[in-house]
């Protein structure tokens, strides 16, 4: 096992299909038209010396090192910027070229410190490599003259440093920031000899607009931009390709290692989801895996008021099984259940639901997708026939109009956002439907054509109004509808959508979006050759979440925007394996592959494979489990990798339910907030410590590979297996690949998936079966999964959460780039430097009438509860709307959110809470009580 060295072809591939044949160094080579000479040479194995070129970036032609000679052409053109031509005869090396290159390198090195032996890039420096490649043996110019040596390093960023003394001003970092990331934070300041890379005007990297994606570090050919981990540890010696455990984009990384220590995470160019890009979380925020807060020994306690007692694995598992059996013996088999995690692997999730269905003997299994994308499952299943997004990420490259609804991709899904921004810079139009002015509305080289800044809670009305315009103005794609959908159902839906209450004029009054803006947006989307919809939790986390998903699907079908690249309905999944956890049968009403538990054929497949009879009745959802706990009929809960006490709404309801239970088992990396109410703590392991697969938002199944031994002794799948065996359900897996084999033989959409196939293909988008042995990038191409697309009436029914004199403002919640979900991971990294606390965004007008100044402590109160946090005055939110994040447990933002939830799925209404803001002197009583309880609940008894 060594370092994976990906070939750098110097320039990007050409998309052309026609080939051009030329001669390079006497060899004939055929490459796609538009290919650079540099790339053509590399394809035949000849590496032309280069410094400013790299295949992640557009050709630049500044370093003058890649010069070649072309017969019949004057001079020595740069091979990176010169495309191939038929019959071209190229020479990449001769005495003249060698002399020129050596002269160029001599100039570079004359202003570069000669500290190679102690340099952090020693062994991984392109400048060093090129000096060797061109045969540089002497530098005639001394350091007596003006030079750039000895300049101060910028070490402000916690993850990488900038050493201007080592900069060769190749602009790769600046171009990476612009072309790959799309932030445009970096520039070349000054000119001539004074040229230098700058992160802003008199700003260091940390204070600049840099988002720490690391693309500049990856692009740098020297030690100028270097990971601090490499500076501290040294160069890695081997690498393993694995998948990021943060958001639903599912970036592929090379975990570059020295022994069992991670030196750095480098995005993998062959990764089909990220194509070599990353964000600050995936690339840098992995230190939580070895954080001092990590608990690695099992613990138990009889009462949640007792301190924890460390025990052996054997005792912890035996105690858990005995407690669960005791509860079932006394209260019936339906008195216990479990929650799977969207952060764990498919194999682990499959195993937990198997333990519950086959071992516990009921269907009381739910997952954290309950609180994020369960409406997606409902809505897309009803209309299209399957619970998944329709496209791959590459599809955005073909979109002409992009409609973003209730999503903030630059913060929540930053790597995909970079792809989207690139397409927008190429000319695609953008419509944003969001109460906040998210970054995409206006940022460097991106501006939304329309921003529908709707009042929170009016999504269904606005999307219906868009459809009203489409139908009433004759913009519907009748050919598509007649061919692909049921015309009678369309006609019934069209009659509904044409009702006056769905007109833009009516909707304008309740949503706050001008009718003409709605009309313009509808015309833009419907008129696009390819219109693509991307949506997030701003759609689903409402009492009408499922209705909005239905309305979105209706809109896409009505305009014919389904079934080809560039279009589609694309849910941006929050966590790394939300798609997978849903696919794996984590919901209480369905088996893996979205088959209802009452489906006899499906049930018999699992009964035969598992050798036990299974229940045909739906189990309890998370909120129903908590209600049943209050009623005394649900008393045992196994929670793998989920923190419902912080992430789920109406914290007091959650805490009430957990407190009423007799055996709560938490399996996690840390003593999270839910563990404060647990009786058993089973230490889990990080994604770096186990094998398995994640499935991202584009249905792409990717390998997670173990790079170090589990700190807690076991992979999470092994812990579930131990518990299953102790409960009497025999499991004998020796490797997660065997679990995937079981998934494949019981789940038709995974029939062709195996670890072997994944290793061979890199990744697979389900469905993967005989008809699609290598997977399915775009769904519903010739027909919908359900046959004909179904238009479903999606009536707008306002939420019952109303503003009034006591609670006149609407609170909506979201996330921020540097933090992830409840922050259990990112708060334990230096990402905390960017977001040390949750802040309340409030419009200056609303702040002024309450006497609130920027940075002031305020009390945020709703009908559910109150908390305190500091205010941030901004016009990103409209008057009447306030916004906060939920990354910090001390804020307890979910004390504020209510128990209102989606009518179809019980997905909580995080996005609409009526609140009042007032000045505060300090923490609320709830916060004080909670902090005291939290400190007491985390005590561990001395041995």
């Amino acid at each position: 096992m060594g370092l994976i060295q990906e070939i750098d072809y110097g320039t990007k591939p050409s998309a052309a299909t026609s080939l051009v044949t030329l001669s390079i160094d006497g060899q004939s080579v055929a490459v796609p038209e538009g290919t650079s000479i540099m790339r053509a040479a590399m394809q035949m194995g000849t590496q032309i010396p280069k410094l400013c070129a790299t295949d992640m970036l557009d050709s630049f032609g500044s370093c003058r090192l890649c010069l070649v000679e072309i017969e019949g052409r004057a001079g020595t053109p740069a091979s990176c910027t010169t495309p191939v031509a038929p019959g071209m005869v190229v020479h990449t090396q001769n005495a003249k070229l060698a002399k020129l290159r050596r002269g160029v390198m001599e100039l570079y090195i004359s202003d570069h410190p000669l500290d190679c032996l102690t340099c952090s890039a020693n062994g991984d420096c392109e400048l060093q490599d090129m000096a060797g490649a061109v045969g540089l043996r002497d530098v005639r110019y001394g350091y007596a003259g003006e030079n750039h040596l000895g300049q101060d390093k910028d070490v402000s960023n916690p993850y990488f440093q900038f050493d201007p003394s080592k900069c060769i001003v190749c602009s790769r970092c600046v171009r990476a920031c612009a072309e790959v990331q799309g932030t445009f934070a970096l520039t070349i300041e000054g000119s001539g000899f004074a040229s230098k890379v700058s992160a802003g005007i008199d700003e260091n990297f940390f204070d600049s607009e840099c988002v720490s994606c690391g693309a500049c570090v990856q692009a740098c050919p020297t030690a100028t931009l270097m990971e601090k981990s490499v500076v501290e540890i040294g160069q890695p010696e081997h690498s393993v390709v694995t998948t990021c455990a943060y958001c639903g984009v599912g970036c592929s990384f090379k975990a570059e290692m020295r022994g069992e220590e991670v030196v750095r995470m480098v995005p993998y160019k062959d990764g089909k989801a990220n194509h070599g890009h990353s964000c600050v979380k995936g690339r840098f925020a992995w230190g939580y895996a070895t954080h001092r807060d990590r608990v690695t020994k099992p613990m138990i306690r009889a009462k949640i008021t007792d301190p924890w007692r460390e025990v052996s694995w054997e005792e912890a598992i035996a105690y858990t099984a005995a407690e669960f059996k005791r509860i079932q013996a006394k209260h019936g088999k339906d008195s216990i259940g479990g929650i799977t995690s969207s952060r764990c692997t498919n194999e682990e999730t499959f195993l937990v639901q198997k333990l519950i269905r086959a071992g516990f003997g009921n269907n009381n299994v739910d997952t954290c997708a309950r609180v994020c994308h369960s409406p997606t499952g409902y809505g897309l299943s009803k209309t299209f026939g399957t619970s998944a997004g329709t496209q791959d990420f590459d599809s955005v490259d073909h979109a002409d109009v992009i409609l973003v609804i209730g999503a903030n991709p630059t913060d929540g899904h930053p790597v995909f956002a970079s792809r989207m921004k690139k397409r927008l810079r190429e000319g695609a139009k953008l419509i944003v439907v969001d109460p906040r002015r998210i970054d995409l509305v206006r940022m460097p080289h991106v501006q939304a054509t329309q921003h529908l800044a709707l009042r929170p809670g009016t999504n269904v009305a606005v999307v219906n109004a868009l459809a009203h315009v489409v139908v009433s103005e004759g913009l519907a794609d009748e050919d598509f509808i007649r061919e692909r959908c049921d015309w009678d159902e369309f006609a019934e839906w069209a009659a509904f959508i044409l009702r006056p209450e769905n007109s833009p004029e009516t909707v304008a009054a309740l949503s706050g979006v001008p009718a003409e803006t709605i009309r313009a947006a509808a015309r833009l989307y419907a008129g696009a050759p390819n219109g693509a919809i991307y949506y997030g939790l701003g759609v689903t986390e409402h009492s009408q979440g499922s209705s909005t998903v239905l309305a979105i699907a209706n809109l896409a079908m009505a305009t014919g925007n389904i079934g080809r690249p560039g279009v589609g309905v694309n849910p941006l999944r929050g966590q790394n394996n939300v798609q997978g956890s849903c696919d794996m049968g984590s919901f209480p009403h369905e088996f893996p592959g979205y088959r209802h538990v009452s489906n006899t054929d499906a049930r018999e497949i699992f009964e035969r494979d598992w050798g036990v009879a299974l229940s045909a009745e739906p189990g309890l959802r998370i909120p129903n489990m908590l209600d049943a706990a209050m009623d005394g009929s649900f008393l045992g809960l196994y929670i793998q990798g989920e923190d419902i006490a912080q992430s789920d709404p109406d914290t007091k309801h959650i805490v009430g339910g957990l407190t009423a239970m007799e055996c709560v088992v938490v399996q996690d990396l840390f003593l999270n907030e839910t563990a404060n109410y647990a009786h058993v703590f089973l230490p889990g392991c990080s994604f770096l410590e186990k094998d398995g697969t994640f499935t991202n938002a584009e249905r792409r199944i990717q390998r997670v590979r173990k790079v170090m031994a589990p700190k807690n002794g076991y992979g999470d799948w092994e812990i579930t297996q131990m518990l299953a065996n102790a409960m009497g359900l025999k499991m004998h897996y020796t490797h997660p690949s065997e679990i995937m084999d079981e998934i494949a033989r019981t789940t038709p959409s995974f029939a062709g998936v195996s670890f072997g196939a994944l290793d061979r293909l890199g990744s697979i988008q389900w469905p993967c079966n005989e008809a699609a042995p290598e997977g399915t990038p775009v769904m519903h191409i010739d027909h919908f999964v359900r046959g004909r697309g179904k238009f479903v009436i999606s009536d707008y029914i306002p939420t019952d959460e109303k503003t009034g004199p006591r609670f006149p403002l609407l609170l909506t919640t979201g996330r921020i780039l540097s933090q992830y979900n409840v922050g259990a991971q990112t708060r334990r990294t230096d990402n905390a430097l960017w977001h040390e606390e949750d802040l309340l965004e409030i419009h200056p007008h609303d702040a002024e009438v309450r006497g609130v100044k920027d940075g002031a402590w305020v009390k945020l109160a709703s009908r559910a509860g109150e908390t305190t946090l500091r205010a941030k005055l901004t016009d990103r939110v409209a008057p009447g709307v306030v916004y906060t994040t939920f990354h910090h447990p001390v804020t307890q933002a979910n004390v504020i959110t209510t128990d209102y939830s989606d009518w179809a799925t019980n997905c909580p209404e995080y996005k609409v809470t009526a609140v009042q803001i007032s000045l505060s002197n300090g923490p609320s009583d709830w916060q004080k009580d909670y902090q005291a309880h939290s400190a007491a609940a985390r005590r561990i008894a001395a041995e």
Partner: protein, 72 residues
């Protein structure tokens, strides 16, 4: 704080409202199908008991759909 029973009635009414725009017979069938597909048995036991005790606050459509489920 709402009781679990309050929540159950509220959920049933929400489901009823979501289908109320459909023709009445279709709405009743869809509500029943939805409840049958997603509700756990003790939830039915509780709401049937609530109906037997008068069922105040439970809307007509979900009440009728629940009744049809109870009768089958």
């Amino acid at each position: 704080m709402k009781t679990p029973q309050d929540r159950l009635v509220y959920m049933a009414n929400q489901i009823g409202k979501a289908f109320a725009a459909r023709p009445r017979e279709e709405a009743l069938a869809e509500i029943a199908n939805h409840l049958k597909s997603f509700w756990e048995k003790r939830m039915f036991v509780q709401i049937y008991a609530y109906i037997d005790s008068g069922g105040a606050g439970l809307d007509e459509l979900p009440r009728l759909s629940l009744q049809s489920l109870r009768d089958t």
